[in-house]
């Protein structure tokens, strides 16, 4: 989904958010197909913690403290285990914004982040989960946002593809 929204050029967070939103479209243009496995896992884990908390709330309303003591202990234990798993998953996939596969089945993982005051989009690209293939690039927002604050997909795709192709060549 590419959003054609005007972005506040003075907000690094807004710029990053908007670029993140445009990553899938840009990579689709480069011939990659997005894989939602990680996102779906995260959402499923998140929903189950919310469901547990909701269930706890219902129990809390219906039964008094002593009646529901042990079921509350059990529910909290499950909640914290799931939260721990989420923490580990999030930590291992820090800043990961996109996972996709090329038509040949090559996996690409893209992590992206910004620092607080520099208008630079830091991109980390990994192929096939191989840490040796990891490269980082620093793409200044000024190169793919126009003066009024609109995202230019062409410029961004070009920057990104030139970076990815560079690695692919090095790989061979």
């Amino acid at each position: 989904m590419s959003s054609n929204k005007k972005v506040n050029l003075n907000s690094v967070a807004d710029l990053r958010q908007n670029t993140d939103d445009n990553l899938p479209a840009a990579l689709e243009g480069l011939g990659y197909e997005e894989s939602f496995k990680l996102v779906d896992t995260k959402i499923a884990l998140g929903l189950s913690t919310v469901a547990i908390a909701g269930g706890l709330f219902a129990i809390d309303k219906k039964y008094d403290f002593k009646e529901s003591y042990w079921i509350t202990v059990a529910a909290l234990a499950v909640y914290f285990v799931i939260s721990l798993v989420m923490l580990v998953v999030n930590n291992q996939n820090k800043n990961v914004k996109y996972i996709g596969y090329s038509s040949k089945g090559k996996k690409i993982t893209i992590a992206a982040w910004t620092t607080k005051y520099d208008p630079i989009y830091h991109v980390k690209v990994t192929f096939n989960d191989d840490p040796k293939s990891t490269t980082t690039a620093e793409l200044p927002f000024a190169k793919f946002f126009d003066l009024t604050g609109y995202f230019s997909r062409n410029a961004f795709s070009k920057l990104l593809s030139s970076h990815i192709e560079k690695i692919e060549k090095k790989d061979i």
Binding site: A13, V39, V50, L56, D60
Partner: protein, 166 residues
């Protein structure tokens, strides 16, 4: 629309409520008290506690001592009362307490349920006071007692969530 994006957004909003609730329940389990943090609502313990003080409770003590400040609830009335232990009687499996507010002229016999002469340490206590923060709880008193303040706060929260992007 992108359903995954919407779900992620919904989750980040839901976490705000669920995490607060889960922390509250965890505290309750750790302290063995259905209400581990209470706000003083009356002046009956002045000068020790004023209206609006926040009290932190612990309910895993085997016995209460004379002089301890305990929070108890009378069956059928869901108002926690913070008073000091005046007298206690115990044997190996049971402890009975009589309480009194420092600022009250008489002990709590009149506050207890009909025909109830003592509090049972095991069943009637919400916890004994282990720590307190002065005055900070006044916000909750304002929210429960002042309608304008309540809706004003709600309005402010709504506006702030609308205006922040992340």
């Amino acid at each position: 629309m992108n359903i995954r994006q919407q779900l992620t957004q919904f989750l980040s909003l839901a976490y705000v409520f669920t995490s607060a609730f889960v922390i509250w329940k965890s505290l309750g389990i750790i302290t063995n008290s259905h209400s581990p943090i209470v706000v003083v609502l009356s002046g009956s313990m002045e000068p020790a506690f004023q209206r609006g003080d926040i009290l932190f409770l612990w309910n895993r003590d085997q016995e209460a001592k004379v002089g301890d400040i305990v929070v108890y609830e009378i069956q059928g009335r869901n108002i926690p009362i913070v008073h000091r232990v005046l007298r206690e009687h115990h044997n190996s499996d049971k402890q009975l307490l009589l309480t009194k507010g420092d600022n009250n002229a008489v002990d709590d016999l009149g506050l207890y349920a009909k025909k109830q002469k003592y509090l049972n340490q095991k069943t009637d206590l919400v916890g004994s006071v282990k720590a307190y923060l002065p005055k900070l709880g006044y916000v909750t008193i304002l929210i429960t007692e002042n309608v304008y303040f309540k809706y004003g706060m709600l309005g402010l929260m709504c506006i702030s969530t609308l205006l922040t992007n992340e």
